[in-house]
């Protein structure tokens, strides 16, 4: 399980970094989204990976899963969602105002 989760975070981060360094607004937005997914997975993993444990202290269970990273990741998801919505709005306004989807708001001169 560790390898799978670590591999997923690595692939998401790599794709996110690659896309967010592109010159067009849409890939940049996607890349930032992928980066935030990778970060969210990372936060959950930092609470240690365990399967089948109850979220709260329960009688008879071996233990409980760390609830704090789950609370953190919920907050991070909400904030990330709002920020992604905002950057999409900015990207659309930029496209509508300048007529290009380049991140600098103007086509690069060849």
């Amino acid at each position: 399980m560790e390898f799978l989760v670590a591999g997923a975070i690595a692939v998401l981060t790599a794709c996110g970094v690659y896309l967010s360094l592109r010159g067009r607004t849409f890939p940049v937005v996607l890349g930032l989204g992928l980066l935030s997914y990778a970060v969210n997975l990372f936060i959950v993993a930092m609470g240690r990976l365990q399967a089948g444990l109850p979220p709260l202290v329960t009688e008879g269970a071996d233990g409980y899963a760390d609830p704090l990273p789950q609370a953190l990741v919920l907050t991070a998801i909400v904030i990330g969602f709002a920020a992604t919505g905002l950057i999409i709005a900015v990207a659309l306004a930029l496209r509508a105002t300048t007529g290009t989807d380049h991140v600098d708001g103007e086509e690069p001169s060849e």
Binding site: L32, L68, A76, L86, I87, V90, T97, G105
Partner: protein, 514 residues
């Protein structure tokens, strides 16, 4: 528990909701509410300042949860100082946004709500004693600042805005990574608890904590616009509406504040394997930032970009004091932070008045301004202060900083760069003044004169800067006391946690050094 501690967060939030409820049509009601909230913040902030003079550290536990488990707000000297600075700058920026021939709060919707949310984020970031809560308040102030930056629209603002949002989203992702890594090794995110937990880390966990500390430094350096992460700032600040830019003058200081708070407290001199990890990186970055800001100010073709680059240079200057991290240098840096925020906010507000009468802030020949004596004097006072010439506050701050860094191995480089940057700023500002007031083209109709109300915020900020120079001794005593209080983290941790000793709610043991 003293409930006044949460007022700086709740008051702007309540005011923002009220202005939203009032709707677009009732601008007078919105303005009255925003003004009252800002005045209230000034009163509360100066009350907090008075409360902390004797050195008290006051803790507010939200929901009365004990400290490592719940979220704590902590009011110490540094927090009170930043609250007061924010309240003063915000009041001036708000009045400036409501006056003038074309008031900024009428050029788009929701200006007052966004302004108040920005204040809520700023105050919360200064008060919180929890690393994740710091992230949340950073996001509150950033989301508000994205919208404020775009306020008034226009292609230039959108171009700068997209860069600004993208850079800050990437920084937020890094911030979360560092927080998660730090939580993984320590099991806590309370800053006071972290200060106790980091020195006790096992040898396997120290590299992770060091990595987290450096990632945090990168994040805060992005917010503070330290070289080489400053690229988003000049364009964004020059494109923002001047009242917004004046408020933004405090935003770079939030990054510096976070460095002082987190790296001073958690990764301070006693943090074991992660002790003082930021210092060397920060010093190089700070010196490069000063040099770059000065060069940028020299090359600027308008007063707004010049003010933006001077902001970069001022951040570098005060980071020199933070990076050296002696009590004296930190006290000097805090004084410089007060001075530079007030002076730069005044300069940003002045840009608008001059640009309104000249028809632009560029240094090309344009119609003459209608009130050359008044605006020229104001620009002169601001320039003398920012360039660090005697007798104003910039000189006092820079002198204190030079004295505090007098016997270091890096002193020759530090002094050379700081003094050369001062010279460059002097020449650049002198050139700006002569171009703006003497390089005139044939005028059509004479420009409208600025009303008294629209000049009052600038005058008030400049007067505050002069007062900072006149009362330099008591202010410097307070900033020095702040630096001493910051150095003594052994006082901070028990004050927040009540009983010393790190406890974690985690269901597995934290590996501790024997």
């Amino acid at each position: 528990m003293n409930h006044a501690l949460i007022v700086p967060v709740l008051l702007p939030a309540a005011c923002a909701v009220l202005t939203l409820l009032a709707g677009d049509r009732r601008i007078r009601l919105q303005r009255a509410a925003a003004l009252l909230a800002c005045l209230g913040l000034v009163v509360v902030a100066f009350g907090a300042l008075d409360h902390t003079v004797a050195g008290a550290i006051t803790v507010y536990r939200l929901g009365d949860w004990p400290a490592p488990f719940g979220i704590a707000l902590v009011l110490d000297r540094l927090a009170a100082l930043m609250l007061a600075l924010t309240a003063v700058v915000a009041l001036a920026a708000l009045v400036a946004a409501m006056t003038g021939p074309e008031p900024w709060d009428r050029r788009g919707r929701f200006f007052h709500a966004l302004f108040q949310f920005q204040l809520m984020g700023l105050n919360g970031a200064f008060l919180t004693g929890d690393l994740f809560n710091l992230f949340v308040f950073f996001e509150v102030l950033l989301v508000a600042s994205y919208c404020l930056l775009l306020h008034g629209r226009g292609p230039e603002r959108l171009r700068a805005g997209f860069h600004y949002v993208a850079v800050n989203l990437a920084a937020s992702a890094l911030f979360l990574l560092a927080i998660a890594a730090l939580y993984a090794v320590t099991g806590t995110l309370n800053l006071a608890d972290l200060a106790l937990a980091v020195p006790r880390l096992g040898s396997a966990d120290v590299p992770i904590a060091r990595a987290a500390a450096l990632v945090l430094l990168v994040v805060f350096a992005v917010k503070a616009a330290v070289f080489p992460l400053y690229l988003w700032l000049p364009r964004a600040y020059a494109a923002a509406g001047p009242p917004v830019a004046a408020l933004f003058a405090i935003m770079t200081k939030v990054g510096v504040y976070a460095i002082v708070r987190v790296h001073g407290l958690v990764f301070g001199p006693d943090a074991g394997g992660a002790a003082l990890i930021a210092g060397p990186w920060l010093l190089v970055g700070a010196v490069a930032t000063v040099a770059l800001g000065a060069v940028g100010a020299f090359a600027a073709t308008g007063l707004a970009p010049m003010a933006a680059y001077l902001t970069v240079a001022s951040v570098g200057t005060l980071l020199v004091g933070v990076a050296v991290s002696s009590t004296a240098s930190l006290g000097a840096a805090l004084y410089y932070a007060l001075h530079s925020t007030l002076a730069l906010a005044a300069l940003f507000l002045l840009v608008e008045r001059i640009a309104a009468q000249r028809g632009g802030d560029g240094f090309t020949p344009r119609p003459p301004v209608a009130q050359p004596a008044l605006l020229g004097t104001a620009l002169g006072v601001a320039a003398v202060s920012i360039a660090g010439l005697p007798p104003l506050s910039g000189f006092v701050g820079k002198l204190a900083l030079l004295q505090a860094t007098a016997d270091l191995p890096a002193t020759p480089v530090l002094w050379a760069v700081l003094l050369a940057a001062g010279l460059a700023a002097t020449i650049a500002l002198a050139r700006a003044g002569s171009a703006l007031f003497w390089k005139t083209a044939a005028a059509g109709a004479p420009a409208a004169r600025a009303s008294f109300a629209s000049l009052a915020p600038t005058a008030a900020l400049l007067a505050a800067g002069i007062a900072l120079a006149v009362f330099a001794a008591p202010v410097k005593r307070y900033t020095d006391a702040t630096a001493r209080q910051l150095a003594d983290w052994r006082l901070y941790a028990p004050a927040v946690l009540r009983e010393s000793g790190s406890r974690s709610a985690r269901p597995f043991p934290t590996e501790a050094k024997p």
